[in-house]
């Protein structure tokens, strides 16, 4: 028993990171469900993180209200971004969300309330395993039910063929904004959780690199079902640590994963595993 707790203590942060990564991957997954590639989730997570951190640090708020406030703000911002982006598709949407991300990063870099370039430090250690994995379990359950619901089917229809979906009476605009909002909530929540076990937050977390990393989680795991992004997020958080000796090649590995998975495993790793099982 001691060995396990020792092991856990050594790797606890990593395990928590894996949980947060899974949440972030799910946040990009929900917009992908509607056929939209949004690269703004790192920025949304940062908004959630800063809000929660400011609330607990400066206003001594309790954890869950702070987390929910952060997630709530991120949701509102996501919806506000989602509405003008309704007509954008594919690459245009990706770039628009990227631009949004940059605006958030620069804002965080310059506002006093966010502590400028250094960000905020000394945030209370309020989050541990039950918080992160409890949240992940709830969110995963939510996706499980979403995929079996009328709403989930509407999102899938929009992804497959927006015009045909409209001809079936599906109000595409409503569902797209809904997807964006859900993404905002999950990302904001993830950001808030992360802040409280890393004890710091800074603007770099809203950068293009971070946004790409989240995309990698989803691509790697596969976007057929919600389990894919969870797998992707966790695997891609743990793997680099396991391969820590390859630290110098971190970017190369990430890049190689993206290229190889996109070219040879278009449905992600989860699909590969499932197919092997069936065979």
């Amino acid at each position: 028993m001691n060995a396990v707790t020792d092991l856990y203590a050594a790797y606890s942060t990593l395990v928590l990171f894996a949980g947060v990564a899974a949440l972030l991957a799910l946040s990009i997954y929900v917009t992908l469900m509607a056929g939209q590639l949004s690269l703004g989730n790192a920025a949304l997570a940062t908004i959630g993180g800063y809000t929660a951190a400011i609330l607990t640090k400066t206003y001594h708020a309790a954890l869950w209200p702070a987390l929910l406030a952060g997630a709530g703000l991120a949701t509102v911002v996501a919806a506000l971004i989602g509405i003008p982006c309704l007509r954008l598709r594919g690459i245009y949407l990706a770039i628009a969300t990227l631009a949004f991300g940059e605006v958030v990063r620069v804002a965080a870099l310059n506002l006093t309330i966010t502590g400028g370039a250094l960000g905020l430090v000394g945030i209370a250690p309020l989050v541990s395993f039950p918080h992160v994995y409890g949240a992940l379990a709830v969110v995963a359950f939510f996706f499980y039910r979403l995929e079996r619901s009328r709403t989930g089917r509407a999102l899938a229809a929009i992804r497959e063929d927006e015009a045909a979906a409209q001809a079936m009476g599906i109000r595409v605009t409503t569902y797209k904004v809904l997807a964006f909002s859900i993404a905002g909530f999950i990302a904001g929540l993830a950001g808030g959780l992360a802040v409280h076990f890393t004890y710091l937050i800074n603007p770099a977390q809203a950068s293009f690199g971070e946004a790409v990393t989240i995309l990698t989680y989803a691509v790697f795991g596969g976007t057929g079902t919600f389990a894919g992004p969870i797998l992707g997020g966790m695997a891609l958080t743990v793997l680099p640590e396991a391969l820590r000796f390859l630290k110098e090649y971190r970017l190369l590995l990430d890049g190689a994963i993206l290229v190889l998975v996109t070219t040879y495993l278009p449905n992600g790793v989860l699909d590969l595993i499932l197919r092997r099982r069936r065979a």
Binding site: S149, G152, R153, A163, A164, Q166, A167, M168, V172
Partner: protein, 498 residues
């Protein structure tokens, strides 16, 4: 039930739909027919909210639905299928039909998350309804098959089932029988009747298959160049001289001396070719030949496969069976740019000039595959031969008129000094005077020795111009003879008008 008045839609200078008015009464089955490019699908898009009209109104059951969005139109009770099938390809047949019920169901996300009784009841109901609708279209045994894996005819029927799932009062079908064989078309006719008789649906359908149209419709509206040219009962319409002219063209008296096939080996030999697209085969064992110096025409109704055959010859489509020989050399499956290099010039449907480039650049592009040095000379000669192009040599091709663009496309093809010139519907969308000019050019060019394979919907004109004719019907050659002999042939008329 549906009232369309003065509906118009213009795209730039083109009047795709021009002041169309008609009504569809409750319980009627109305057919909307017309040659290629007449504006039929555009009309559907206007009625269902996919395109806003530039003038006119649409009323449905008394309400003015003119600028409503497609989802609102669907909620009001109009459902449609699409000309090029827009199923949710990754979903199974059953899932497609379930999604179709979206607009008539109400379970919210909260219901789903907490698995409320309402959610569970609705899920049961939607699945049951889906099964019922799939049985209606005879797809019940394929309910779990992904839509993209279904046969073409099955996909069309699935689209109908999905549309029915929205519980419409009016059903708009866009070419529901395209790609179906006789048995399937018969089943479709029965289905449409059942929909009206048993479910009280009103149906408006676009179709090229005249057997279906004549057999199932109470009334027919005929469109050409965006305008209604006839309306009435099937038999009436079939005999209407305007309609016949629109489809078959008018007899002009200028027959030419049919040139017999020369004893040399044919320039083009298509032997038993089967080809098509992912959705299914369009051509089934087609054979034809173009002899040296001949004009051969391929005629047939829309959807028969004429364009697919040209695309198979020029390499844009890979044949699945059979052989294609160019001057004796097999070229099936070869890349299109290589086939162009062998001297085949394909002037595609819709002309496809390089709209953002100048006339000169378009002509030069035509000579791309040539390696000899006479290109500039030919260019000068071409501009002299087509004075309209010569005058506009630095004009951007996209700003030319339809007739000028057609001339440019042909001239571009000629710049390759082709061993075979293939023309796909050169008369499409052009006024009669311009068409006469174009066909004059076609004769001239052939007179200089270039063999031509001409695909045309205007059968009269094509047969008057050509030496040899082939009639294509649902992917099969049904008649092949000297063009002048085909001219008065009933088979030709039937292939078009049923």
């Amino acid at each position: 039930m549906l009232e369309v008045s003065g509906l118009s839609r213009t795209f730039g200078g083109l009047r795709a739909v021009d002041g169309v008015s008609f009504t569809v009464r409750e319980g009627e089955i109305v057919g909307l027919i017309g040659p290629n490019g007449a504006g039929k699908t555009t009309l559907f898009n206007l009625v269902t909210g996919f395109l806003p009209p530039t003038a006119g109104r649409v009323r449905f059951r008394g309400a003015d639905i003119t600028r409503w969005s497609p989802d609102r139109v669907a909620a009001a009770g109009i459902a449609r299928t699409f000309q090029n099938i827009r199923l949710f390809r990754g979903m199974t047949a059953a899932e497609n039909v379930v999604v179709g019920q979206h607009v008539r169901t109400a379970a919210t996300l909260a219901d789903a998350v907490f698995a409320t009784p309402r959610y569970r009841a609705e899920e049961r109901e939607t699945r049951a309804r889906a099964r019922e609708l799939l049985e209606l279209v005879d797809l019940a045994d394929r309910a779990a098959v992904p839509a993209r894996a279904l046969a073409y005819g099955d996909q069309r029927r699935l689209e109908i089932a999905r549309a029915l799932a929205t519980q419409p009062r009016l059903l708009l079908l866009d070419e529901p029988a395209a790609g179906m064989n006789t048995a399937e078309t018969q089943a479709l006719m029965t289905l449409i009747h059942r929909l009206r008789d048993e479910r009280g649906l009103t149906v408006l359908l676009i179709e090229h298959d005249m057997k279906l149209v004549m057999g199932v419709c109470d009334r027919i509206v005929v469109l050409n160049f965006g305008r209604t040219i006839a309306e009435g009962a099937p038999d009436q319409v079939r005999r209407d001289p305007h309609v016949i002219e629109a489809y078959l063209g008018t007899q002009t008296e200028r027959l030419r001396e049919a040139r017999a096939a020369s004893p040399e080996a044919p320039v083009l030999s298509v032997e038993n070719v089967t080809a098509g697209y992912a959705a299914g085969d369009v051509l089934h064992g087609v054979s034809l030949e173009v002899g040296a110096g001949q004009i051969v025409t391929l005629i047939g109704a829309n959807g028969a496969g004429k364009t697919t055959l040209l695309r198979t010859i020029s390499g844009l489509v890979r044949p699945r069976g059979g052989t294609i020989r160019l001057r004796g050399r097999a070229v099936g499956g070869v890349r299109p740019d290589r086939i162009a290099g062998l001297g085949v010039a394909h002037v595609p449907e819709g002309r496809q000039v390089l709209a953002r480039m100048t006339v000169l650049d378009n002509l030069r592009a035509g000579s791309f595959a040539r390696r000899d040095g006479a290109v500039e000379q030919d260019l000068a000669a071409m501009l002299a031969r087509f004075p309209e192009l010569g005058e506009r040599r630095t004009q951007i091709a996209g700003t030319l008129s339809g007739g000028e663009q057609q001339m440019l496309a042909i001239a571009r093809g000629l710049m390759a000094r082709p061993t075979l010139l293939m023309l796909d519907e050169p008369s499409l969308g052009l006024a009669p005077r311009i068409v006469a000019r174009i066909f004059g050019i076609i004769r001239e060019v052939n007179g200089e020795g270039t063999p031509i394979l001409l695909v045309e919907q205007n059968a009269q004109l094509a047969l008057e111009t050509a030496d040899q004719g082939y009639v294509l019907e649902t992917g099969r050659i049904v008649r092949a003879d000297r063009a002048d002999r085909l001219l008065g042939d009933e088979a030709v008329r039937r292939a078009y008008l049923g």
